[in-house]
Structures are given as structure tokens and as C-alpha cells.
Symmetry: D2
Subunit: 226 residues, 4 copies
């Protein structure tokens, strides 16, 4: 990790940054074998073991690899994110700090998907310019009123109640590889909202680089299942 | 639970409703003793045991008592709430359902507390009427624009990005007594935000009624400690 | 639960007893819909929803159903059991209580399975009588020496170090339906040890009776996947 | 970690080895501030923040520091250890591997403590030589019979049922600093069994070296409380 920066922009103002990492495909193998002698059994056997573990849902050896991220994303994305309980979060507080003028402004808007009640799809039938203008003006108004309340002496923790869920927030996230695979499976899924999928895609690239065999077989095993 | 409704209004439009409960002070005692013969050792000894468990932080016996709530609260409160990971949540989704015209409108606004950087206090120096008007108009504007985007065909999951964190949401919460005590300790604390403390107060009343000895000694032990 | 006893003998001296339960298939449906109005949408739609949730691994609604068991099993089984971390355990302590003369004595012994390095199979080539005699005498000797050490004044927590992992222990177990399904999937598997599978089978019968639709679709979905 | 080996012998044949670690006192401070700019505010302020976090039980920032150990200890110690659920374990399996001739043989035996029903104390009234002889012979007999059953073809997973809880086992343990502090508090306590306290003592030395400020204030805050 010394020579490489893992920093990726996501959406219009967000990012994913890998801060720290311990582990490797080999660590999974060692933990599974509890062999402790720090020797692996050769690439072919190690790869087979990883495939076996994923196939039979023996997930504990993956818990010994730990990722640590710094994330910047809109609140509505953070809300979906933090439903994943097996991980550690420390988030910036709008009670303690004044909120910056940073909101998620989409390039294109999506219409309700008729087939998928939760989903949405890009449509050229929308007047994107007009919608974006309405959207942006509403958010700017909310932010202006937020500042106005602050200037009148209202406490930060109350003034922020006006702010939209499009507001950007930031947090530290420490998560083991098992829990992260679960996050990726659910959040890369086409039923997940577009915005969080963008984060999941970037994180999956980092995962793949750090634990390539695990990622390879995870996809193979779960692609098979559907 | 049959003859009594546990339903309490909180803030202007929220509520706490106890849906289900298993356990009792006696269950804690039985679990601690793993006596299983369904006999207790008499009130005095049982009370002493509960005090001992709390004092020495032997919290596992309290995990066998389980509360199930239906909560309605603003999003910024739900965000603080769901940081408590040892519990189960199912929340209404703004991706699936159109959001109602329900927002938290405080009666009085608070100013920043100078001593406590996160805190706030009621002040008569504020022009409450004027501030409330600004606050309410901003929220009404956001909601109007939300409906406008919906009417133009924008998907629910995108239109809702405008909505303020003052929006009410609802969720199911299943939590054991150990985790609930931890929630109450942190959220009844004077450093917690006023709004979530209002919920914590109501829940503490329910807790006290269901597990009176545990509540009594919990307060005694933790009051001592400070 | 009022009119029926859920008590089942397992192995030679163990048992599974259901002490308490909250939930139902309907509760899963309600939590998933967060409909809260306590109305379901009719059997056909409710069944479909449960199938959908299991198929797409939306497991949180199942967490609102909670089982509470009293278990008696050998220590080596309890060791496998308590690796399941998302649940609450209170176990009898051999530090506090003198251990009874209760050990698991198998009727038949199994030989190492050549195909499955962890597994074992019943074989008529073994001299079961002779093996059982050796096994039983060894355990009786250990227990006799345990009592001897106690009589000489050795503390319980030290004398018990002699006792075999075949010793029976007892514990309270509170677990939600999601975590219990995970337990059942792993412990009903043919790779699990015969003894814990016997417990899993009994528990699966209780599960089926309490949440029949969930059990039906859980089996359907997971049978498909292999 | 490169230049120093963290390997410590515990009891007669056990050990604690630190395999990996991410974090530092500074990481706690950064996570608490979510400052992310990788700058601290100077030693004095950083130390004060750590004290504040521990005093007010804001434990999440400590979750971003992760320890990874390889442990060798007797089964009865491992049983107490694995009751700590917020951590990851991978243990050697007696189903898969033949168990070695390694058992915990105490130097001195303890008598039951009259004041503390769970506790024990060293006493010179015991005939340590005689007791040790009985203890050791019993264990040797169990191990001999274990090998005998194996030689007759009995599967490993059955033959091991004879083996005493004094048998040594090994496991990988990945745990964050918050959960580790909780482990240390409970297992350094004088109510904990002597044998697991020996492990806790060694681990506390490693903790102190890796996170000296956290350790200093943790002791200060919790010493005060009693």
C-alpha cells in the first residue's frame, strides 16, 4: 500500500479512499488451515481451497482480512450503507461541524421502473434540464435557509434538520472481507439504487486488486447460483 | 401485554409502540442461574443477583429478554438510532413508497451551547415565530418540489433526494434488553440530542414497567459510577 | 405455546426444549412491508413475499422472530454450536457447580470417511462392544479422578480440567430466525458432525411448526441452489 | 511490526503471538475527529480526546484498530474466550487433524475459595505432588485410549470425545481494540479464572505497547469507577 494511492472519485463530489488493509488471499488460506507455519501449499491447492470455502459458505477465514475506507457520499447512500451492521463506522457530525455547500446533483434523472417497484431507469422522455433546475434550486434554497437559521443563532443540530438527504457526508469504515463481500453482493445487485452501486463498483475494483482469487471465485460461485 | 396498549406519542408526529416482548426480571435471573427449573430463589436473592450482574457487567443474561417496537421518528433521529448495531431494523423505503407530508416542526428552537460543542439550549432571545416560519416554508417548498418531480415522472428514489432529514420515517426494531440498556444509557445522556432523548425517555418508561428491578439497579449502578 | 410442550430428547442424555418464541410467518411479512397496520395481503401474496425475500437474501425481516431454547448437549457439540455468534448464550459453569456423572456414550462408533477428511461413517467392521467398553471405562476413570481431586480439596475449576469433551453441558440460547436458518443450513449439512446434526434435525422440526412457509421456501430455495 | 517479534509463552505449553496489527492511538483520534487530513492536533489534545472518549463510553473510534493473534491454549480456556462474540476465530479441528500429546499440567493446584463461589486460591495444605500425579495419570490414560481407538479405526471426531478439556488447541483471533478492551476488562478481573488471566496479562502488554495512551486512560478511567 505504500507506493500506490487508492483514491477514486464517485458521483459528482464523492469518493472512496482505501486507508489501510491487512490480509491477502494467502491469509484466508492460512486461517482456514490454521496451519500457522506461514507456508502455503502452492497456488493450485490454495486456489482450490478458496473456491471450496466460498462454495460451502465457510466464510470465517475471510474475516481475518480487514479493509479500512474513508468514504464521502450523500446521506441517502450512507443510510443504505450503514444498515450493514457487521462493520465499524465513524461519521462526521452535523451537530458538531457546520455543513458544507456540497450536495449530490445528478447529471440525468431516472423514471420509475414499471417492472421493478423499487427501481428506476434513464429515460430521454424527461426534460432533464428543467428537472435539474428545479432540483438544484430547491437544494440551494434549503442550504440558504440553513445558513440563515445559523446566522440567527439557531443551533447547528436544529438548523440542519432542513437539509436534504442529498447532502454529502463522510465516514470511516472498517470492515472485514466477509462482510464486505456481503455488502458487494447486495449493493452491486441490479435491485440496488444506482448511486450506491457506483460506490460498490469502485470498492469491488479495490477488492479484486487486494484479493484477486477470492474475488474471482466469489463471482464464479455466485454467478452460478442464479 | 394483552390488556394494555403500549403506544406513546413523541415529538409532534412521532410515536413509540411496543409490539411484542418476551422476558422479565425473573428470566434474567433464570438465565444467569441456568437453573431451568423455573423456580426463583425468592425476591430478595433475585434482586441481589440482578444488582450483582449489572455491577460486574455480566450482561449476557439480559440478552434473553427481547423488546419489539414500531417507531415513527424524523430521519435525523433514525440515523442516530441505527448506529446501534446489535438489533434488527426494518424501515419503510422511500424508493418503494411515496413519502407523506410529515415533517418534524419544533415548537421552540435552541441556540448553540457554548460549553458543549455538540449541544444546544432553549433561549428566549430567539425570535421563535420568525424562525419557525422560515423553517416551515423551506420544508414545504422542498416537499412541493418533491411532488412536482414525481408528477414529471422522476422516480421516487431520485425525487426524495430533495427531502429534508426532518422527514418522518418508520421502522420495526427488535432489540434485547442488554442492547436496549446501552441505547438508553447513551441516548438519555444530556449529551444526546433533545429529539432522540424524547424517544429514549418514553422507551425507558416501558422498560421500567416490563423489567422494574433491572431498571432500578441499572440506574443505581450507573448513577454511582459518575 | 401454552398448550403444547416442545421438549425433545436428543442423543443418549441430551435434549432440546423450546422455552419461548415470538413471531410467525406473518410477522416476517409485516416487517418486510413495514405495513404496521397488522393486516396481511392474503395467503398467496404473503407466501410469495417470503419466497422472494429468501431468494434475494433479504434476511432482515426474519430477525423479528425470536426463538429461545434450553439445550443439553456434550461439550464438543456446544463448542461447534457457540461458534454461531449472532445469538445469546448462558451456559452452566463447571467453576460454580459440581459436574454430574453425565457423558455422551454413543451406541455405535464410526470410522474415518476416506472421501471426506472431516467426516465419518458407520461400519460393521468395528468391534462396537469392545470399543464402547474402552470408551466408557476411560470416561468413568476420568470422572472418578475428578471426584477424587474434589474430595482432596482441589477447586472445581481445576478438577474439571480432567473431564472429557463428551461431558454434558446445558445452556440457554436465544436466537432470531435469520441466524437460526443459518445455523440449520450449516448444521444439517452432511459435512456437519453426526451429533450436532441430531440437534439440528430436532430444531428444524420446531422451526417448521412455528414458521411453516419460511421453512418450506428456505428448503426450496436452497435445494435449488446446489 | 517488522523488527520485533511479538511471541510470548503462556502456561506450560501455550502461547500468544501477534500476527498483524493496524492502528495506533493516532488512528483513534483521527477516526473520532473524522478529520481525515492525517494531521493530529498535538499530543496534549490528542491524549485528552482519548481520555474523553473512554470516559463517556464513545467506543466506536477504537474499532478502527485491529489486532490479529495466533493463540495456543487449553480447551477450557478457549471455551471462555470464544464467548466474546465480536471477533473472528478460526480454530484447528480435531475432526480433521489428529490431536497431539499436549495437555495443560499445572504446577500448583488451587483450593476452592470460600468467599468467591467461582474462585480458587493456592494453598499449601494440598499435597501438590500427589494431586499432580493423579491428574497427569488420568490425562495420560485418556490420551492412550484416544490413540487406541484411532488405531482400531474409530474416526477422529469420535475418538476425541474422550479427551479432556485440558487439551491444547490453537486458533487465529482477529479483534478490534474496542472488543479487546472489553475482553481484557473481564478477563483481567480477579473473578476470571487464573489460566485465562495469564493470557489476558500477556495480551495487555502487547496492547500497551501498540496503543499506550488508550491503555493508560482505560486503566485510569476504569480504576476510578470501582
Amino acid at each position: 500500500m505504500k507506493n500506490k494511492e487508492y483514491f477514486f472519485k464517485v458521483l459528482d463530489k464523492g469518493f472512496v479512499k482505501l486507508i489501510d488493509f491487512i490480509g491477502s488471499d494467502e491469509k484466508v488460506v492460512l486461517a482456514a488451515r490454521v496451519s500457522f507455519n506461514l507456508k502455503t501449499k502452492g497456488e493450485e491447492k490454495d486456489r482450490k481451497l478458496i473456491e471450496y470455502l466460498l462454495k460451502h459458505e465457510h466464510f470465517t477465514p475471510f474475516e481475518h482480512c480487514v479493509f479500512q475506507f474513508h468514504i464521502k457520499c450523500p446521506i441517502f447512500v450512507a443510510r443504505q450503507w450503514m444498515r450493514h451492521r457487521w462493520g465499524s463506522y465513524n461519521e462526521v457530525s452535523a451537530r458538531y461541524t457546520e455543513v458544507n455547500d456540497e450536495f449530490y446533483i445528478p447529471e440525468k434523472f431516472r423514471i420509475q421502473d414499471i417492472k421493478n417497484k423499487q427501481g428506476s431507469i434513464i429515460s430521454e422522455n424527461l426534460n432533464h434540464e428543467e428537472i435539474k433546475k428545479t432540483y438544484q434550486e430547491t437544494i440551494e434554497n434549503s442550504y440558504k435557509k440553513y445558513l440563515e437559521l445559523l446566522s440567527k443563532g439557531v443551533a447547528r443540530e436544529m438548523a440542519r434538520m432542513l437539509l436534504p438527504v442529498a447532502s454529502y457526508t463522510q465516514f470511516y469504515w472498517t470492515v472485514n472481507a466477509r462482510s464486505l463481500l456481503n455488502f458487494l453482493k447486495l449493493r452491486l445487485d441490479e435491485h440496488a439504487q444506482h448511486e450506491i452501486r457506483e460506490y460498490a463498483k469502485v470498492i469491488s475494483k479495490i477488492f479484486e486488486e487486494k484479493m484477486p482469487w477470492t474475488w474471482e471465485f466469489f463471482n464464479k460461485v455466485y454467478a452460478k447460483k442464479d
